[in-house]
């Protein structure tokens, strides 16, 4: 058994090292490109989904959010609620917001957008809006009649929906805001931010104090955003909040991401389709390469059989060669992915309507692609060599 494996290894090794170098290089190149194609496509779509998720967390809802109890419009006793939340280990930020709709007008232009109120210091601990200012400045705690606008609202900042904007509001200009409760206020535009995400670029922010005076409320909120230290453990945090007696609606970010779920689901579907087609093409390509290689060595297979070498030894030697091509291609492909493409995409991310997208290489997916490619190579090595040893020895040697 061991001597058979030794012989298969010997034949495979000699065929690879002493065979045609051009064929070897070309085969390994094709394998590595097949692997890169499989991993790259999956990674770009995963990167796209990841960007959407990050946008939802970093510019809209944090990792966990509290909403008012059913049948209530606002969350009450926000101050004590925040203290309770803060007592849970792993909480890195809390921001209470009022969220309402409002009609904005500037000169002869007007439109409706969402408006959120924040304590700027708290908001910094949860979202990244303060880092996304493209003009003017972020809000400060003492601001009372100032507003910051998402890129889609002022106009002139290259928004995707420019025709719906206020048509060219500049920093320092005053705009009129008519709140849903009928109160109207004028705000000076302090800054404009761009998250590269349409949903958050359609929001304006004012200070908490200003909103409370508009709504006539205190120590209440429409939404409390919470940032946790780690992603993926939202369930555990929610359990702890419930144990603390918090009665509000507690939702993980994934619930809010569901609003863009059809986008990510479509991406996932496309990625899956491309992966399946890619793997099929990869299998066929590997099969053709090994098949041509095997057919060209048909006579040698005949000679080996004639001198008494077992068919299983011959088949195993071709499987080992196919495995070598697949494993070498995978290693080179991994090198290309991790040391060329990934760093390049970090410095040159692709701009999508959901934000800047880089490659997200998930080890599990890479593992699945690696195993799939090796399995395809296994089949591609087995089938042609099995077919070749099915021929009679005389047919193999002399092509009778």
């Amino acid at each position: 058994m061991l001597s058979n494996l030794n012989l298969s290894l010997f034949l495979a090794y000699k065929s690879i090292t002493k065979g045609n170098k051009g064929t070897l290089v070309l085969t390994v190149c094709i394998m590595s490109l097949i692997f890169v194609n499989l991993v790259f496509t999956a990674s770009i779509f995963l990167g796209l989904g990841n960007t959407v998720n990050n946008q939802v967390i970093n510019t809209l809802y944090g990792t966990v959010a509290l909403e008012p109890k059913t049948d209530e419009k606002y969350i009450s006793d926000v101050y004590s609620l925040k203290q309770k939340i803060n007592s849970v280990p792993g909480i890195t930020g809390i921001s209470a917001q009022y969220v309402t709709g409002a009609a904005f007008s500037y000169k002869d232009k007007s439109g409706s957008w969402a408006i959120r109120s924040i304590n700027p210091d708290d908001e910094r601990t949860v979202t990244t809006i303060h880092n996304l200012m493209i003009d003017g400045e972020y809000l400060s705690k003492l601001d009372s009649d100032e507003i910051i606008l998402g890129k889609e609202i002022p106009g002139g900042y290259g928004g995707d929906l420019e025709h719906l904007s206020l048509g060219g509001v500049k920093i320092g200009d005053s705009i009129n805001v008519l709140f849903n409760n009928g109160v109207s206020r004028r705000f000076r535009v302090k800054g404009v931010f761009d998250s590269n995400f349409q949903q958050s670029n359609n929001i304006a922010y004012i200070s908490q104090k200003e909103m409370e005076s508009v709504l006539g409320l205190s120590d209440k909120a429409s939404l409390i955003l919470i940032k946790t230290r780690d992603l993926g453990n939202e369930g555990s945090y929610i359990k702890q909040f419930l144990e603390l007696g918090i009665k509000e609606e507690i939702k993980p970010w994934t619930v809010y991401a569901a609003m863009v779920k059809n986008i990510t689901a479509s991406f996932d579907m496309i990625a899956l389709l491309i992966a399946v087609i890619g793997l099929f093409v990869a299998s066929v390509t590997i099969f053709i390469i090994i098949y041509v290689n095997t057919i060209s060595k048909r006579r040698q297979i005949g000679i080996l059989r004639a001198i008494g070498i077992k068919e299983s030894v011959i088949i195993h030697s071709y499987i080992l060669q196919a495995m070598f091509y697949a494993i070498s291609g995978t290693i080179i492909g991994l090198f290309i992915m991790f040391f060329i493409l990934k760093p390049w995409f970090i410095t040159h991310p692709l701009k999508f309507p959901v934000g800047f997208v880089s490659l997200l290489i998930v080890p599990e997916k890479v593992m699945v692609n690696t195993i799939s490619l090796i399995a395809a190579a296994l089949a591609a090595g087995l089938i042609p060599s099995w077919m070749a040893v099915r021929e009679t020895i005389l047919e193999a040697i002399w092509g009778d």
Partner: protein
């Protein structure tokens, strides 16, 4: 079975061939290549199978060498009908008991002379030191001491054929089958190969069955089996 030879030395029958028939089916046409061929080969014989082109020489050799399966008949060695063996048993038999020399040398181009020779010994599961040593010795015996690490394309036709002979000898076979071994060689190389066969036959008593179409090759063999239209025509020394 023991029979008495012409010179009075008892020679053991090594192979018994009984009513061997091979018919090729080509579409709806039946082409008989061998028809009821019966004869024996004794241990230590150097026999030439001769006949015109298409007489069935190579077909007969392929049947005896278990490279092809006859339509009917028996090939008996050690009392066992070899045609009853499974494919894997036939492969084992070929490896352990037969050696082959083909017209086109049939060496593996990726292997050196030494590697080509020790391949069948490796397949038998011998130790590396043992098969390298034995292969080196056999290559020296066929006059290729200086060609051990050359690949086939770096050697002449005659040298390649001697590597093929060394490969055929490495597992100490009972019978060496040679299918027109000198057909692709010049007269000098042909003479060397045939003298080598003769030497192996005389010195180690190797049984050799050789297909040839060269009448002058008769001087090297001690028996000629003539075939005509797939049938045994005559036998002589």
């Amino acid at each position: 079975m023991v029979e008495e030879s012409l010179i009075g030395i008892e020679k053991e029958t090594l192979i018994k061939i009984k009513k061997l028939t091979r018919i090729y089916i080509m579409g709806e046409v039946r082409v008989p290549a061998l028809n009821n061929v019966t004869f024996d080969i004794k241990r230590g014989e150097f026999a030439a199978i001769m006949g015109k082109s298409g007489s069935g020489k190579s077909t007969l050799l392929h049947q005896l060498g278990l490279l092809d399966a006859p339509t009917s008949g028996e090939i008996i060695i050690d009392g066992k009908n070899l045609l009853s063996l499974s494919e894997s048993q036939k492969a084992k038999f070929r490896l352990e008991r037969f050696g082959y020399v083909f017209q086109e040398y049939a060496l593996l181009p990726e292997l050196t002379a030494l590697e080509n020779v020790y391949l069948p010994a490796m397949a038998l599961g011998r130790r590396k030191e043992e098969y390298v040593k034995n292969s080196t010795q056999v290559l020296e015996q066929v006059g290729l001491r200086n060609r051990l690490h050359h690949r086939p394309r770096e050697m002449s036709g005659g040298e390649q054929q001697r590597v093929a002979i060394a490969r055929a000898l490495i597992n100490k076979p009972d019978i060496l089958f040679a299918d027109e071994p000198t057909a692709n060689l010049d007269s000098t190389s042909s003479k060397q190969i045939l003298e080598l066969f003769q030497q192996l036959n005389i010195e180690i008593g190797l049984t050799i069955l050789m297909v040839t179409h060269e009448p002058e090759d008769r001087k090297y063999v001690n028996r000629v089996i003539w075939l005509k239209d797939g049938e045994l025509a005559e036998q002589g020394t």
